[in-house]
Symmetry: D2
Subunit: 141 residues, 4 copies
């Protein structure tokens, strides 16, 4: 399921109570936030965090989100989000995610997000070279 | 863009400050919550609200979410979410959404969600007949 | 309960599913967002919305939040938030809120928030005169 | 600032992008969620997590929240939330929190929450004895 030809970042956290809903499971929009935190963790792992990326005046605007919900998660559960770069082009990048139980590795949610790189004025810009290298470079920094 | 052969519910609201992020636009996960509120409004329009549906022991579990982000929205903006049933089968239902500026009707986000009908124990159940009627019935109640 | 010597803004909305938690009630942090939407509605009622306030380079930073939870609310319920200015000084302002059921007017939550006026650089600034007038002016615009 | 006569739990996390707002800082309602996660971490540290507490049919309903915002936090920042039991009575409990920068220990937010213990039917129940012991027991388990 996870790609073996590229770097996969993993980060683990507890489900917060506020992230659940009246079905007593994690609300489906919370996983979209987990995806984003997966991207943040990915950039931290790579030694170039996204906060710094923004300080340089570049932003990754989300253009598409897709999520498939396989098994509900519940409050207090430890989840691991696995994040990798699925594809990178001159002006766009696609991340993919797999969210599993941290202990059993059972699958909960999988998804993808697409992004374009924009500057402060909203103009589309080239994805920095380091992100392209990340996509194909198997090793962490 | 909107289907003309079925009922389309419309509901309008102001973007809340908490729904924005540090890019000064509506956070992409907020639209997933708007989709859900679109479904709620749809069922209210149809005279059978989702709260009542749950009181009868049935739930529409989300199995898939897809969203395409066309233009960012900002705090205070009035958005209209248009919601319709795209497809309904014996055990599954698909809603589609279009979020537009309430005044200019400019497109911001479009998306789809898929659901299965489950009972309190999580067993898959048949979609109630009225939902199937809704899908093809053009008129509001 | 509501003050009779000043303007009270009222706005009504449905509880969203995402705002509930695994106790099957509205999550306590959601009411803090409702307070904020109460402030937004207040400024819209007054004919000078907060979005415009920010476009002029001023922000009301939150310095304190207090909330008292009296009765849980649930998904789909129609709530009314009543908002008024409790107090205004040269550099600070205090809003107060009462959240009630839109139909029965039963009390759910009451609270207060304190704010200072800051500019883009975070410097404390004087509260604009119109806000001081609002505090004591009983009539809507 | 932190009490020295009782157990203080500390947990550290990165600010998520979704938790920020258009002022480019952490939205004030996000800290209320951090408080809750502080309580969760406290119970995990104590060897009796809150998820288990709920499985036994008891819930800590929030009756009051107070927060004082001292310094804004930003996306990506590592925050530490310190949580302790301020007070415990037969049917009520009060938690207190201090949120600091994980590296500099600079103060960002402090607050308190009050709770009553209820069962599934919403009836007020006695706080379990272990929680009373925790309040005065200085050592972790």
């Amino acid at each position: 399921m996870l790609p073996t030809d590229r770097y996969v970042s993993e980060t683990t956290f507890h489900v917060r109570y506020a992230e659940t809903d009246a079905m007593r499971i994690v609300h489906h929009s919370s996983y979209i936030v987990y995806f984003e935190e997966g991207r943040s963790a990915y950039t931290r792992d790579r030694g170039q965090d996204y906060a710094n990326f923004e300080r340089n005046g570049l932003f990754l605007a989300v253009t598409e989100v897709n999520a498939r919900y396989i098994k509900p998660a519940t409050y207090g559960q430890r989840l691991t989000i696995c994040t990798w770069i699925e594809n990178v082009k001159s002006r766009g990048i696609e991340f993919a995610y797999l969210i599993v139980d941290a202990d059993t590795r059972e699958k909960h949610v999988e998804g993808r997000t697409r992004h374009v790189c924009v500057d402060r004025e909203g103009r589309v810009r080239h994805i920095p070279d380091e992100w392209r290298v990340w996509a194909v470079d198997h090793k962490s920094q």
